[in-house]
Symmetry: C2
Subunit: 207 residues, 2 copies
């Protein structure tokens, strides 16, 4: 696309770097902002840059956080003996939106994927072990995407933590194999947390 | 959606104000920016706010412009006796992208639409008359969306300018009735400019 305005062109280029945004959609957004009041456009850009510069990662669970410890870890009513292990922060948001879970989380920052060159050493596994011991965790709920990499990660963690007095469960298979956790609907996701199984059963049934 | 981070929440809220962007898409974009380098996020917000604050409207054709007179009006190789009348700047961009038109534009800023309360007095019609006279325009090409409002606007302008020595044409009907000009593919749009008809013929055939 050719634009007679460099200012317009620059803004469209920047928007089209966002995931899933083509040139036509980027142009729609930019023209929308062009009609929006300056104050509101400033609010938009301020929110974006402040978020990028000031957001932190929780020192306990590695979830995104406005403070050193995230709002979930800091909440006194949460069950601190229950830790839900997830791949990334999108999964935390998805489970929080079900409103059915009252424990804490642990964000691994990925899952074991030899094809992508991601091994256990790149994930937040050492800090998970420390948390299990320090917080006397009773249950680890594996809420990982139901695919090969998710399974590999679960088996790895089960083996690694077999000396610790913690029960390891996984969310129920309500989500189709190969599906992405973050796109599951809330009912399916909530049910799969409620009907979680001990890992032994899971291996027999789903393996 | 509930987010444990206010900073994240604010950014998602702002993104979801953009046209066609729901909460899930907004979150995808924000998480993408969270992984992007600070410098690049600054480039993004800078481009957006600079565009909004510094963009002007061309004093001649009312197209968006970085200067007082837009790059199209300022280009010496353009045919100044040919004026293409369009509804908005998106249509200018669409026609420019065909690479088939070498005249100037006139952005009306809308089309006559009694249902939406838009009458001729809200459009840039007076300045169009001045331009026709001042620039000794030979041809006005009506490139308006082929629907009721577009037709109404064409008839109004034909009547209004009947005392002026200017030929009024419309782009050929290659686009289906009720379609939106800005979404037409470049070939159809280019052809409809090349095969434009005098308004008399257009009324007989298409009316």
């Amino acid at each position: 696309m050719i634009f007679s305005s460099k200012l317009l062109n620059d803004a469209v280029q920047e928007f089209s770097k966002l995931p899933g945004i083509g040139k036509k959609t980027a142009l729609r957004m930019v023209l929308h902002l062009l009609k929006t009041e300056v104050g509101q456009v400033e609010a938009f850009t301020e929110a974006v840059i402040t978020m990028r510069k000031e957001i932190k990662f929780c020192s306990k669970c590695h979830n995104i956080s406005d403070e050193l410890v995230c709002a979930i870890c800091a909440q006194p009513t949460r069950n601190k003996q229950q830790i839900c292990v997830v791949e990334n922060i999108r999964d935390v948001i998805a489970i929080e939106n079900t409103g059915q879970y009252n424990g804490l989380y642990h964000v691994l920052g990925g899952i074991i994927s030899p094809l992508d060159g991601i091994g256990p050493e790149q994930l937040q596994i050492e800090s998970l072990r420390e948390r299990i011991i320090h917080d006397r965790a009773e249950e680890l709920i594996m809420a990982l995407s139901p695919n090969m990499e998710g399974d590999t990660t679960i088996y790895y963690l089960v083996k690694l933590f077999k000396d610790l007095p913690v029960r390891i469960t996984t969310i129920a298979r309500g989500i189709s194999f190969g599906g992405e956790l973050e796109y599951a609907d809330e009912t399916t996701l909530a049910r799969s947390i409620a009907r979680r199984l001990p890992v032994e059963n899971y291996v027999q049934v789903g393996g």
